[in-house]
Symmetry: C2
Subunit: 731 residues, 2 copies
């Protein structure tokens, strides 16, 4: 009896547990699926407007200098579904809307509806001027997600008899989404999270407090125990000098205080700073200050450690620098612009693949940069930045294998490319037309005249990207066209710019003639674009890269590519030294994040000036964080060789280090590498890899076959989920 009773009880519990389990499973499935959706790109454009319009300069609003687009204010969403049984569906909408089943509208604005079993088309049409039309639908089966179709123009007219229109030309695309998975998390209310942080040092005087947060940070200053009536002014500083320069600091905020009782007051504007010099009128008292640190909740998946503590510090500071500049979008720097600049963002994408592998931040940034048709200017008004946008898509596909994104973006790629092609001169080359900004780099006296070789190189790579994506879209003719065009342009680049005597590509043509000027830009890009022959590469390394007579690079921005070019040629030892000298140089000056520009020849507070302003320079600039990318890709040596890491290579290079270890994130798990001079250990959660290395002795590996690939070069095939240890002798 007792046993039976227990068994009954047990079965009852099992029943409940099963039931709960199923419910949990069902809920989990739905929770994964139901999400707020919108017209693809629209939320991204809207959010980027909002973010980019937070810039101030000395208390004045300073918005971007380019066109800001808007979302479609009227959007139709629909989904065809076959329901096995009737279900109740919860509805969330941002905007004024109608809701139809099979073309029949409900009166008013229903918050939930009952859908009968069977085949149905559920549609919503939403108008919203202030923020993007967005919907959330959650039933058992029917949930809003990227499988819904959307259009900004449904053309659903009827004729006089009530017969409906020919909709054959209506363009539907898949809805855009992110991670707003609850009905209450409406997209327009999105804010990055904040957490309170304390200062590490405070200097209080009668009417001021100077607070030091110990390192560069970003967020909202909070004054504690504020009382009285009068003005409180914040003078921010990335450096102490800046905070103490009320007349020349870049950022300041003012607030009128009127508190009869002591209260905490948080400033509205988010700002970048390490120091804040808080000044207040005589009638005001302030007890203390803290700040609400605002951050993007991306997960740091990549890692790097080695025997050189300075390199470890560089990696950590680079990671922190990138994190501060990873916000709603990848921005340039947190103090000044806080804008989405395509060339800057392109580097952040690359670093992201070795730190977070957060695809949404990449695609959001690509959408925001592209904006909408008509194209009226280069992206950010900069010619090179238009091309980096195409390159960003190229890399995004290679790292993620995300075809769905390419499909959504392809029409915008086409219209931007067509706009560019129409701007070529009679020789088929890009030249800066009035209003175009040819940027390349911050470098004294850099010529932008005529047909700059660097721009043609980027155009060529952009055309290759068009060819690749046309292929993915099944547009064979267009793919062939772009392959032909890029091949022709590549040939032209060498015909026009290669100077055999100088052993280099020259900087430009002016009036149809090669100039004498050799700069690093097109030469270093041609190396990792693999446009040079092996002989040209070696020559250029000597005549340009390792040649001190060629104007040196002073921005981390172009240092990124210069070091990448050297790495692809196996110069990891030299690059490690340069990293220690350049990024180490900033650390030696007390940098807590990496800078927009660093010229070792400068000294003291001179380092902080730029743009003709005493504190014009940004001391936390995304493009300063390239060691993350270089160490992951060219030391740990991990990179995809087929889209989305379905195939990849691991080619560790110590570059003078004794040992190093780390992991590289991929769309499906991580790739881990540990390497010293005797042993290489690798494991991967994804795809099929190839471990490549050199050894002066015959290497061994218990878990896989070592294949010799030439003198001292060996390979081991890496399967998903297995651990490999190779014994070898580093060369």
């Amino acid at each position: 009896m007792t046993n039976i009773l227990n068994l009954k009880k047990l079965s009852k519990y099992i029943g409940v547990a099963l039931c709960l389990g199923m419910m949990f499973f069902a809920d989990a499935a739905v929770a994964q699926k139901a999400t707020w959706i919108w017209y693809p790109g629209d939320y991204e454009i809207w959010l980027s407007n909002k973010m980019q319009n937070r810039r101030t300069e000395r208390g004045a609003f300073l918005p971007p200098l380019w066109k800001e687009d808007s979302h479609y204010v009227l959007v139709e969403f629909h989904k065809d579904i076959d329901l096995p049984k009737a279900e109740k569906v919860e509805i969330g909408v941002e905007g004024q809307y109608n809701l139809k089943i099979d073309g029949k509208a409900f009166a008013g604005y229903p918050k939930s509806i009952d859908i009968p079993a069977g085949k149905h088309r559920i549609s919503l049409k939403v108008y919203n001027q202030a923020s993007p039309p967005a919907i959330y639908v959650k039933g058992d089966k029917l949930v809003s997600d990227a499988s819904w179709l959307v259009t900004f123009e449904d053309r659903e007219w009827i004729d006089a008899s009530g017969k409906s229109s020919d909709l054959s030309a209506t363009t539907y695309v898949n809805a855009g989404a992110w991670n707003f998975n609850e009905v209450n998390t409406s997209p327009s209310a999105f804010r990055l999270p904040v957490t309170e942080q304390q200062a590490v040092k405070k200097d209080k005087s009668a009417n001021s407090i100077l607070v030091d947060f110990g390192k560069e940070t970003f967020g909202f200053v909070k004054l504690l125990g504020v009382k009285g009536k009068g003005k409180a002014t914040l003078y921010f500083g990335e450096s102490k000098e800046e905070a103490l320069s009320p007349d020349h600091g870049e950022l300041m905020d003012e607030l009128q205080i009127d508190q009869s009782q002591k209260a905490d007051v948080t400033f509205e504007g988010s700002r970048a700073f390490r120091y804040v010099n808080i000044k207040f009128d005589g009638g005001v008292t302030v007890d203390d200050a803290s700040m609400l640190y605002e951050y993007s909740p991306v997960e740091q998946r990549g890692s790097f450690k080695c025997n050189d503590e300075q390199i470890n510090k560089i990696w950590d500071v680079a990671a922190y620098t990138l994190h501060l500049n990873t916000r709603e979008f990848f921005i340039d720097g947190i103090k000044r612009d806080r804008w989405v600049w395509s060339g800057d963002a392109y580097q952040s994408y690359a670093m992201n693949y070795y730190l977070y592998f957060d695809s949404p931040t990449v695609t959001r940034t690509l959408y925001a940069l592209r904006g909408k048709d008509p194209v009226t200017s280069h992206i950010n008004t900069i010619m090179d930045y238009t091309f980096y946008w195409f390159l960003g898509i190229h890399d995004y596909y290679q790292y993620t294998g995300d075809k769905a994104f390419i499909k959504q973006m392809y029409p915008r790629m086409q219209s931007l490319m067509n706009w560019c092609l129409a701007r070529r001169d009679k020789d088929g080359l890009m030249v800066g037309l009035p209003g175009d900004w040819t940027f390349i780099d911050w470098a004294d006296g850099l010529s932008k005249k005529g047909e700059v070789s660097f721009e043609q190189l980027l155009l060529c790579r952009s055309m290759e990207t068009m060819g690749l994506c046309a292929d993915l879209m099944g547009e064979k003719a267009e793919a062939a066209k772009y392959r032909q065009m890029s091949a022709a342009l590549k040939a032209k680049i060498f015909q026009y710019y290669w100077n055999a005597q100088k052993g280099a590509l020259v900087h430009s043509r002016v009036n149809g003639k090669q100039t004498d000027n050799v700069t690093r830009y097109s030469n270093m890009f041609s190396i990792f674009f693999n446009y040079f022959t092996e002989a040209q590469k070696q020559q250029v390394k000597k005549t340009v890269l390792m040649n001190d007579k060629i104007q040196k690079i002073t921005t981390p921005y172009m240092h990124f590519y210069e070091l990448e070019a050297l790495c692809t040629m196996g110069e990891q030892n030299a690059v490690l030294k340069e990293m220690k000298s350049y990024w180490g140089g900033m650390l030696n000056l007390g940098a807590t994040t990496f800078w927009e520009e660093y010229n070792p020849a400068k000294s003291g507070a001179d380092h902080y000036s730029m743009y003709g302003r005493e504190f014009g320079k940004s001391l936390c600039h995304a493009w300063g964080a390239s060691p993350i990318y270089l160490l992951g890709k060219y030391y740990l040596g991990v990179k995809p060789t087929a889209p989305g890491y379905s195939k990849y290579i691991i080619a560790p290079k110590l570059g003078g280090l004794q040992w190093m270890e780390g992991s590289v994130p991929t769309p499906n798990g991580d790739i881990s590498v540990r390497c010293d001079t005797k042993q290489i250990k690798v494991s991967a959660d994804t795809g099929t890899g190839t471990l490549q290395f050199t050894s002066s002795t015959l290497p061994t590996c218990k878990e896989g076959a070592v294949v010799a690939k030439g003198k001292n070069v060996y390979e081991v095939s890496i399967a998903k989920g297995k651990k490999y240890t190779v014994e070898y002798t580093a060369m």
Copy 2:
């Protein structure tokens, strides 16, 4: 002493008076000039979105089926000025902004600034997502008006040294404005005015009231003395039948009542109705109902009176019909769509020139219809409606002479025309591509297949408009191109569609072959476009216009053009009869406004059905109001012959009336005409006119010379400001 004292006192008073006078003068001058400004077209687009998204159908939101564009969310405004002395300037802004003098920004958001004497550039840059960035600036000399320049893309970058960019390619246009002349009348807060109106009849039952406002009206229903808790539902009716058909009426609104004390409740949605059937739950009591009539405050300047009281009634009802449909924009009808339809609006422009001459409503409507680039569909998705847009600009310039508007709109004309031209088939003709709506008219069985002659005709006229506007822009080459293209197309139209045997243009070509079908549309348009020879005109009049075998027109829409064609051929007598029969026919059925469609063959409540719905037809449709236009242009006979009435013609035609009198508005005052069978009286406030008339006796005129222009035809030159009386004998 006394005198001197008095004189002193007097001089003091004179001083004060002078001072006040000057202040008044200065104020008046400024008040005329300072006005809210925005990027041209942006406010119009924004406001049209708002208006067009007020449509409901049986309580469900029913937005337009075409793309709705958005304003530029970030706009720079500036003005260069040379101030004789320093002045204080008041600032109003809709949006987040900065304000600069000579490139130097003020911190924060100043509401007034001091500008020193001398030459300065004042600029504001404004971000606003929810409504168009708009500014108001009012100083003594510096005021915001259409002379300010604006751009959505200033490209004001700086290089690393702080040097600013080449702005040579930045496109500035003149600001848009309307009549928001006070800092507090912010454009986004604009609402049409309302005035309370009472019902003429009420039928009260226990839980309902049926109210009759005596005629078609528009606005917000107000329930008086509402108490209790429960639902109140309004069933609207343009006809009594509709109001009494809760299941089939087009419009209904519901409101949850919760009033412990008696109160008046006004419904939020504006609706069209004559009758309202108010039903309320048992727990609710309602004393009475009235309505807030919402209207456009345009001034009725045109007038018409004659001996025929039915014609007078037709004119009055037409004027009321047009007034109801003249709202923020010219809309189609007040009950159903309340949208801006280009073909409908084109007729409203024409009527407007004979009723209000309100140019802002015309230009607002043209901006709203055009929207922004990229063009993705025909205007309203309808091919003919795209062309009517061009024709609307043609007529607008002819009536107003407003070159500034053409200059602002020309780029949008170019991009829309280029979009059209790219859609022509291999024979250079427009054919309905997938997604294009070929409308022409509501007519049973009307073929839209192949290349419809009517569409080519409208394209040809649109090309002529492009030529005209290119000339105004000083674009000589483009003007020549369009003249050549339109001439070639006109020749092609006659080659492809003229059927000598039928003595008419045929309806269409299908598979490159003329069809047998003859319809009225292209034939009647060719008459008043003056595309026919005189012989063709006379032939077509017989074979088509006066031929009952050719499918009859049942919409006032195409009746407009049919009667216009007859009028241009001197058939005023026949047209008057048709007006009395057709519009009189609606009046005989109790119409208080004119309808979307009228088929005398129908009877009873059958008249109210359309689109397969019992009450689908609109009983107050703008295109029903054409008698205003016909009576002004072809009976009073007034029309401009040079832009803006700098020259005009007055050619009165009694058309069977005994006498008529009226006035026609122009940009500068009115033209008045009185005409009976013995005497014509005219006077004009503008330009140089020609009075043309026929007389069987030799006419006399004391005020001007009578010049004979052929058998029985005479002319008198009309100068501005003079009154002319001609004694003659009507033929």
